[in-house]
């Protein structure tokens, strides 16, 4: 118990002193996970919408893959990305293993199925009569898709929160593809694992608290966006 209290005290000290190392870790965590969430959001919403509104052979099979991907173990994704990015691997020429870019790739692969799955469910959940009404009112295909997405904004923002939450809290893939390198790829979760391994429990608890605060702040912003747009 004293370790947790000590950790809380240490977390406050780190915050008040604006510790540079912690700031760097926080910015890296945020930068990597927000970029990955943004990329997943753009591709995921597109793919999810296509899957929801079109009918083609293999569609159900594809959806089953997406649903499985929603539960894909991050370490497996991490291992695969590592092997692909190795110098001897098919994407070795890129030279991005052990860089934030590699972490973004792994995190996109982890969060993408979540966002595709949520988008698909959200759009399919909209009353089909609305679509018919829009067509009757002369909406173009683009206009219809925009309106459907707008209609589905609540679950879509939930998708963003789920995707972001999954990757900012992820440690296995981040360690494998990032390498937990100081100043470059050391993010909150990998630092927490390392400090725990080093026996620096106070610091590990302090970092955990700061990570949870960060996740809370991001979700607070997203929640406000979600609930405000509901009123309009």
């Amino acid at each position: 118990m004293d370790i947790i209290i000590n950790g809380i005290v240490q977390a406050f000290q780190l915050l008040i002193h604006g510790d540079r190392g912690v700031l760097e870790v926080a910015l890296l965590s945020l930068g990597i996970s927000l970029s990955a969430t943004a990329i997943s959001l753009i591709t995921g919403v597109t793919l999810g919408t296509v899957l929801a509104l079109t009918r083609f052979t293999g569609r159900r099979f594809l959806i089953s893959l997406v649903n499985t991907g929603m539960g894909a173990p991050p370490v497996v994704v991490g291992l695969m990305v590592t092997i692909f990015l190795w110098r001897s691997g098919p994407l070795g020429l890129l030279h991005i293993l052990y860089t934030p870019a590699a972490m973004v790739i792994a995190q996109v692969l982890i969060s993408l199925p979540l966002i595709v799955g949520f988008t698909l469910a959200a759009i399919q959940n909209i009353d089909p009569k609305l679509r018919m009404q829009m067509v009757a009112l002369g909406a173009s295909r683009v206009q219809m898709v925009w309106l459907l997405l707008r209609e589905a904004r609540l679950p879509l923002l939930a998708a963003v929160m789920a995707g972001f939450g999954a990757i900012i809290s992820e440690v296995g893939a981040s360690t494998m593809v990032g390498g937990n390198i100081l100043h470059q790829t050391r993010v909150f979760t990998t630092a927490i694992v390392q400090e725990t391994g080093r026996g620096e429990f106070g610091l590990a608890v302090a970092l955990s608290i700061l990570l949870m605060v960060l996740v809370y702040v991001v979700n607070l912003v997203l929640t406000f966006a979600q609930q405000r747009s509901k009123l309009r």
């Binding site: 959001l41 001897s88 030279h95 052990y98 829009m134 391994g197 080093r198 979600q226």
Partner: protein, 306 residues
């Protein structure tokens, strides 16, 4: 009309917020870095053509904080940016054997020699040593305290069937431990009292402490974690089995043309330089009252005792 307004109003705010925040954070994150880079450029060296060096290393060099201390010094001196990938010695050797690392820092003689024999590792260079110790519960139910021979002590542990924690993981420690078991002619794997933690050394010591178990550990990791442990050092000083010697190896550029051999050479030169050897000899004294490693550059393996 409603449709048009909907489209205009729709610019997904969350996306905009996410994108700009992500970009801003990455920019600030990158902006934080040049502090180190500018200090580096003020010193006198020609920047290396390929500044990125991947170091595959055992966890103890990272967990003790040694790498965090010396890598910035290396960067300031040469411009090389070393990326340490801290895994077990077995995994570190495997990375070198595939050409996925440029330089290896290991503490497992068998793996090192294997790497040299297979042509993957070259210029195996002695860097430093510390030693392994047997840690166990202070009341020492197996009664091994003060024994001079690790082999005899292990026989007693097996006879008493007290819980023993092992890392496994193909680590250097694991390798040293298996040699002692082999010398004692005991195969502990599969015994109910022999527990594989499958974690790093620090975490394994915690498990041992919680379970009141015995554990072979490197002294550095024990000292680093001592405050959190109810474990005493019970057996130490058996130089036949308990020396923990660290060597650096370059990954052979003839076998793996993509490796950064210039960077690997520079890093090993740096490790054996008098300045860094002096630094290693005092590293940890301020916190633990004794050094975590003893520098050995230029010595022969026989002199160290390995």
């Amino acid at each position: 009309m409603r449709v048009r307004r909907g489209i205009k109003a729709l610019l997904p705010k969350a996306l905009a917020v996410l994108l700009s925040a992500g970009i801003a954070a990455s920019v600030i994150g990158c902006g934080a870095k040049p502090a180190a880079e500018t200090t580096a450029t003020t010193s006198t060296f020609t920047p290396p053509a390929n500044p990125e060096v991947i170091l595959a290393t055992t966890t103890s060099t990272a967990d003790t904080g040694l790498l965090d201390a010396i890598l910035p010094m290396f960067k300031a001196k040469t411009g090389y940016d070393v990326k340490p990938i801290a895994v077990g010695s077995g995994a570190a050797k495997a990375m070198g054997d595939r050409g996925e690392a440029d330089v290896m820092l290991l503490h497992a003689k068998d793996y090192e020699l294997d790497s040299v024999n297979s042509g993957s590792g070259i210029n195996r260079t002695l860097i430093m040593h510390n030693d392994f110790v047997v840690a166990g519960p202070p009341d020492d139910p197996a009664g091994i305290k003060g024994m001079a021979s690790s082999v005899e002590a292990f026989k007693k542990l097996a006879a008493a069937k007290v819980t023993v924690i092992t890392r496994a993981m193909n680590s250097g420690t694991d390798l040293a431990e298996s040699k002692i078991w082999a010398a004692a002619a005991i195969d502990p794997v599969g015994q109910s009292w022999y527990i594989q933690s499958g974690q790093g050394m620090g975490a394994s010591l915690l498990v041992a402490s919680e379970k009141g178990a015995y554990c072979l550990t490197d002294r550095g990791t024990y000292l680093k974690n001592q405050a959190n442990l109810t474990l005493d050092i019970l057996v130490q000083g058996d130089t036949a089995y308990m020396l923990n010697v660290y060597h650096a190896l370059e990954v052979n550029p003839a076998k793996w043309p993509k490796v950064n051999n210039a960077g690997a050479k520079a890093f090993i030169e740096f490790l054996v330089s008098p300045e860094i050897q002096q630094f290693i000899s005092t590293f940890g004294v301020d916190r633990y009252g004794q050094p975590l490693f003893f520098p050995d550059a230029g010595k022969s393996e026989a002199e160290v005792g390995g």
